[in-house]
């Protein structure tokens, strides 16, 4: 029970209607009964008759996402995503994929990645950026921020895999470790639609140093105790490359799959993030060619 993330437990949505469901504080406390730190954090949260105050939860999570964005910025996450998207887009364009190429960010939160790509990504005028998340408050904040900076990106309160039209490409950051057990192959199964040509999912790279590194950075950079707690748990729960490849193979066998960016060149230093790349077999050759000097960062295809 110690590897649960608080932010997962204080929110609940009906997966079909996306309606917000009430969350009982006592039930959350029960789940964290073996985790004193998490118990302290949850106990301090506002409730009305044992139901967590949804407005307070929303404000808290918007603030936490703002702090998470700081780490993403420090670790150059926008650049990292753009570096991988450009060769993927080049491969799709070479094969004459239908335009616009729709990139959907799954569980976009406050939309940092897409907003960064809209501001600096230089992905081309034929690319449409769409963020989807279940949480209306986070999506509302993403829309507000995008409007404030006049960025060409849209955000929806939606299941990313039920958008119409669907994504040509799906991406996510720090999302896939939330899918446990059979939910992980099921997540990949959602990608397996004719219109979808590729996916790229970024998450923490598990390594012996990852829990300490994550603890250090969250202790130094984060202010909110919830952000500190969940950040460390995320690094502990992250899947290895082999686990991701296996689950993606089970769920989306129509894609060829490989891990990208697990090591720092020839150095035996693991990166903070790795990414799972999946694409239709007919685009593989063009993608590898478009990677150019970064080809060595790509692992074995599965």
């Amino acid at each position: 029970m110690n590897d649960l993330e608080i932010s997962d437990e204080i929110l609940s949505f009906d997966p079909d209607t996306l309606q917000r469901l009430p969350v009982r504080k006592s039930a959350v406390l029960e789940k964290f009964s073996a985790n004193r730190r998490a118990t302290r954090i949850v106990r301090a949260m506002a409730d009305r008759d044992d139901v967590l105050d949804p407005d307070a939860v929303d404000r808290r999570l918007i603030r936490v996402h703002c702090e998470m964005q700081r780490i993403s910025e420090e670790f150059q996450h926008g650049h990292r995503v753009a570096e991988l998207l450009r060769p993927l887009l080049a491969a799709l364009r070479t094969a004459g994929v239908v335009r616009p190429i729709r990139i959907v960010d799954v569980g976009c939160g406050t939309g940092f990645v897409l907003r960064w790509l809209a501001a600096h990504g230089d992905l081309g005028g034929d690319v449409e950026l769409v963020g989807a998340d279940y949480h209306p408050a986070l999506v509302g904040e993403a829309m507000r921020l995008a409007k404030q900076e006049d960025l060409r990106v849209t955000f929806r309160v939606a299941n990313a895999f039920r958008l119409d039209p669907p994504g040509s490409m799906y991406l996510s950051t720090g999302v896939i470790h939330h899918f446990r057990g059979k939910a992980l192959p099921a997540f990949f199964r959602s990608h397996d639609r004719e219109e979808t040509k590729a996916f790229v999912h970024f998450d923490f790279l598990p390594s012996p140093m990852a829990p300490f590194g994550s603890w250090l950075f969250h202790a130094v950079r984060m202010r909110d105790p919830l952000a500190k707690h969940d950040g460390v748990v995320s690094a502990i729960r992250a899947y290895s490359g082999a686990e991701l490849l296996r689950a993606a193979g089970d769920g989306a066998p129509g894609f060829v799959r490989a891990m990208y960016g697990t090591r720092l060149g020839v150095l035996p230093i693991p990166r903070a993030f790795h990414s799972l790349v999946g694409l239709r077999p007919e685009y593989r050759e063009a993608f590898v060619r478009a990677l150019e000097s970064r080809r060595s960062r790509l692992g074995e295809w599965a």
Partner: protein
């Protein structure tokens, strides 16, 4: 004396300016944050000048009150010299990392965070204390210990003070949580 004091002042000013950055980091979710950070660093710089003025006033007050001014002055020089033995390498490491940060490589920039900015930000208060202790060991006079501790506490509080305005606006939104 002027050179040592100027070096300490310069390091303190850089520290306060970067404290402004640190206090503002993670508090704006915009993508283009140039104005946000410029304002924050200016606030850090200005607060640093106020703290420097308070520190200097305290220093000269203690110096003037000392019965053995020449000896006290010599003691201060030895203390400052030793403090710089700790503070200068720390500051130079950070400034060098900023140099590497200018290289347009995701990997190099991430390494500066992983190896330098993160760990060194974490030990900053310890470095402050270590520098003072190491310095004071050269001349452990009560007035130097007391004055040095007061000034160090003042500098370590700068980021917290700079964060006050952000916390106030955040707490308005979170009041119902308490």
């Amino acid at each position: 004396m002027t050179l040592l004091l100027s070096t300490l002042y310069l390091l303190a000013t850089i520290d306060a300016t970067l404290s402004g950055y640190s206090a503002a980091a993670g508090r704006s979710a915009l993508i283009r944050k140039g104005p946000h950070f410029r304002t924050a660093m200016l606030r850090g710089f200005v607060l640093g000048q106020i703290a420097a003025a308070i520190s200097l006033s305290l220093l000269f007050a203690v110096l003037n009150a000392a019965p053995d001014r020449a000896v006290f002055r010599a003691d201060l020089l030895r203390v400052w010299m030793r403090m710089l033995q700790i503070y200068l390498p720390y500051a130079l490491t950070i400034l060098t990392a900023f140099g590497f940060r200018l290289i347009p490589s995701v990997d190099v920039r991430c390494l500066t965070s992983t190896l330098v900015f993160g760990p060194l930000a974490g030990i900053r208060p310890l470095v402050g204390i270590l520098g003072l202790v190491w310095g004071v060991l050269a001349a452990p006079r009560p007035e130097i210990v007391a004055g040095g501790s007061a000034i160090l506490i003042l500098w370590l509080l700068i980021e917290w003070i700079l964060g006050t305005s952000y916390r106030t606006s955040e707490s308005t939104g979170l009041r119902s949580e308490r």
